[in-house]
């Protein structure tokens, strides 16, 4: 039986005033729940989704449906995103849907912090610390991948031409936030 999550969450980081003053918006997402889901192809048995979370996307792609999203980070690894209040229901539903097939499901909502980085030149701001080619043909809308930002491990998702999500571990958040703000100064006009 699933243990109900009783932990209370305090904000890991507060939005910086300077970030919202420039043309590039850098702000921590609030109220986002995240699940780390892992299952081999055999356990998934060719299904397209698990309790509404897509598992049929290509590696390094992001599929969204309303307020949920599914990021495929590797051959057998997904990051599921849903509203924080729905996490316990989502976990129960996934457990039912998998029906005993081998899988791993961990609530990582509190482990991670996600930043929105949006606006013209948002790609250049991320490239200040990320070596990936973020041109639209190499990193199109709907791409998501684990990568690096400066000295930190991040999950980077492109949800729009000039709209990115940067997810990192909670204790790395002040560093990532600071580096993003620093890079955005180049475009502060």
């Amino acid at each position: 039986m699933l243990e109900v999550n009783l932990a209370r969450r305090t904000p890991a980081i507060r939005p910086a005033a300077v970030a919202s003053a420039g043309p590039i918006r850098i702000a921590p997402e609030t109220g986002e729940g995240r699940l780390s889901f892992r299952a081999k192809a055999k356990a998934l048995g060719g299904r397209e989704d698990v309790a509404g979370f897509a598992v049929d996307g290509a590696i390094n792609s992001r599929k969204s449906d309303g307020d949920t999203a599914s990021l495929r980070l590797g051959p057998d690894e997904w990051l599921f995103i849903c509203p924080e209040g729905d996490i316990d229901d989502a976990m129960s539903a996934i457990e039912r849907a998998m029906d005993g097939a081998a899988h791993s499901l961990v609530d990582v909502s509190h482990r991670d912090v996600t930043f929105t980085v949006s606006g013209q030149n948002a790609d250049a701001v991320i490239n200040a610390g990320c070596p990936l080619d973020l041109s639209l043909d190499r990193f199109p809308v709907g791409t998501a991948s684990r990568t690096v930002f400066g000295k930190s491990d991040i999950v980077l998702a492109r949800v729009g031409h000039h709209d990115f999500r940067v997810t990192t571990w909670r204790s790395f958040a002040p560093y990532v936030h600071g580096l993003l703000l620093d890079a955005a100064k180049d475009y502060a006009g």
Binding site: I59, N60, G74, P75, P131, L132, S145, T147, V148
Partner: protein, 102 residues
């Protein structure tokens, strides 16, 4: 920046990867029956070729998967990457350790 082709993610920057040493080293089935010298050889002795070298690499800041790579130790060129469990692609001429990258 050097690009390495992950078998799962495609070409990615080298800083996302980490090398895990020589590939295709099988752990002996019956260590208790081995001589100390043979065991030490398995544990500590590795080839150090000038030319093509089969290595284990992990895409740790990416898909997190281990895979194998043929790398030329002279030019640092990654000749080929392949999934764990697959045989060394150039097994036919692997004895020629000084083979130049194609």
């Amino acid at each position: 920046m050097l690009l390495i082709r992950c078998p799962y993610c495609g070409e990615r920057p080298e800083v996302e990867f980490h090398c895990g040493g020589e590939a295709h080293i099988a752990r002996p089935d019956t260590p208790a029956e081995m001589t100390d010298a043979d065991w030490a050889s398995f544990l500590y002795y590795r080839t150090n070729p000038k030319g093509l070298h089969a290595e284990r690499w992990v895409h740790n800041h990416g898909c997190g998967r281990w895979f194998n790579a043929l790398r030329d130790t002279v030019t640092d060129a990654f000749v080929q990457t392949y999934e764990m469990g697959a045989p060394r692609p150039d097994a036919g001429n692997a004895s020629s350790t000084a083979t130049k990258a194609a």
